[in-house]
Amino acid sequence: MLTNEESDDWTNYFTLNSDGSINTEKKVFQPKFNSAQTVDGKLAISNISWVESANGTPIFQWVYSDNSSSTGLNPTRTINPNETLSVTVNDGSGTSQTLNIEDILACSVENFAITNMGNNLYKFGPSFNASSSPYYTKWVFSDGTTSTANPAFKTFTSNGTVTCQAWRVSDNTLACQFTKPVNIKCGDKKEKSVTHIFNNAGGSGQKWKLDCSIWVQSSEVGCKSKYLKRVGFAWLPANNQGACADISGTYKREVNNPNKICNDITASGSKCLGNGTYPTSVSFTISEVPSVFREPNLLSSGHRIKVNGVWMGPGTGTMPRLFLD
């Protein structure tokens, strides 16, 4: 089942000339269809074309295999698998365009699926079956590059567009094309946390609790080490020989001038407390503009406390740092 797309996804239009070139006249016919297979194996065509006419209401005339016909935005019945179908669009002033069933299916939105694979890598397709289809797709990107791969992949580093084209294999002419904006995403916000309870910390016989957190939140990048010692039945602030929280790596900052781009920002810094009894935590934060995002596995934090002359916690010895994945 194919689904309709939001109308504002496809901002450009085209009109077909007989040679497949783009018509720059004011009259606009942008063929675009949804097709779906019904329960009984037939094909249901839904017309979502854009027609602009200065002279009267455009007329869609559908002609079926048995030469019967109907008018209206959509066909009045479903189509058998091998049945022919054509639609003629008349703008009311003599300009008309006829598409056969192959063109209608080629211009189905299914053939122009765009999928965000994450980290601004986009997949373009699935496309036409290269061995059997009378069409092939070509993707024209706003940076000037093109691809006829099936499917095509491209990483966008700033906002741009992709023009999705269906070409006829027989004469290498353009059947239809759509231009679609591609809006990149610099990432998302994230916070991770875990608490470890160390037994016999540093061989001291003491029990310490270390809470480790790292975050890229609304306007802040940071990490925190929260630590308490077990005294009787409660966790309490107690004397230790040091506590640290440090952060390193990169995160993204979104900049919107003139197009959205995602800059890599280096994060580095730490905060430590020396020997003594302090409140329960130490944290290191970087205040930022709201548009900051994490990059998977590129920002990490270290958390450690020193008890009985031994440092312990993520980022000490062989214990790995806490990565924001």
Partner: protein, 268 residues
């Protein structure tokens, strides 16, 4: 009509209302003040007079982690999970031994799971517990205090009963269980520890008592012990594991908010 009133800002136990001057200016204003006077008149009949107290407190939360399916030899574990701030308002009635109160607390909702000592060594460190907080818990209580000791004494002791609304909200924080894989010598994870924080709303009953001293008839330094019973889990933790080479039922721990809340505060 010009009306000057002193309404309920008497933080000691002073009369609740005094009217110093009245002159006619508007029927609407007159109506409003008549209604106000009626309400305060009713209060004065019921309570003779009243006074209030605001208190700020801080203290540990001893919330229990329920062991639905415990880890083999994991022990009972821990209850003192975090610390919290509390703000409360208390409304006294003169010559009455009881008072009404409302309080608000907010704390991180933790769940912990515990291991046998020496059974879980991670990068040279012996780990006996892994915990996580993925929810913020807010609780609003309303209740009634009863004074056991004459109110003119400096020392007071007041048991209370309360009903509260406890609301937990997920913070979006994810557990970083991959940092410390459970990898022997006794316990081996089959899947990393996972957590399931939840948004919940529930009515929670509680019992407790307050005790402390009143200085200069106004400054209250006191302790509050409040036991709360909650039944909906606001966070669960799971571990699928083997113990000494034998696969065990998936361990399941949960926290509901049931526990003891102890605060030390100052009120006026």
């Amino acid at each position: 009509m010009l009306v000057s009133t002193v309404i309920g800002v008497n933080y000691g136990c002073l009369p609740a209302l005094s009217i110093t001057n009245v002159s006619k200016k508007s029927k609407i204003m007159s109506s409003i003040f008549k209604k106000t006077i009626s309400v305060l008149g009713f209060l004065s009949i019921v309570g003779v007079g009243y006074c209030q107290e605001l208190m700020m407190s801080f203290g540990p939360t001893f919330t229990t982690t329920e062991q639905i399916i415990p880890i083999v030899n994991g022990g009972m574990g821990d209850t003192n999970t975090d610390y919290m701030f509390s703000i409360s308002y208390e409304h006294f009635f003169i010559k009455k031994p009881f008072s009404l109160f409302a309080s608000f607390v907010r704390f991180d909702g933790y769940t912990f799971m515990f291991f046998e000592e020496g059974g879980f060594i991670s990068y040279g460190n012996e780990i006996v517990g892994i915990g996580f907080s993925g929810v913020k818990v807010n609780r609003f209580d309303m209740g009634i205090n009863y004074r056991l000791i004459n109110r003119k004494k400096k020392f007071y002791l007041s048991p209370f009963i309360a009903m509260g609304v406890q609301i937990s909200r997920k913070t979006g924080v994810e557990i970083y269980s991959e940092l410390t894989p459970v990898n022997g010598p006794n316990y081996f994870e089959l899947e990393p520890i996972s957590a399931d924080p939840r948004n919940t709303t529930q009515i929670v009953p509680s019992l407790g008592f307050r005790t402390g001293f009143i200085f200069w008839k106004r400054l209250n330094v006191g302790l509050c012990f409040q036991g709360v019973y909650a039944y909906k889990a606001y966070q669960k933790m799971y571990l699928k594991y083997e113990y000494k080479g034998v696969e065990q039922p998936t361990a399941e721990y949960e926290a509901t908010g049931t526990g003891l809340y102890v605060t030390l505060g100052v009120g006026y």
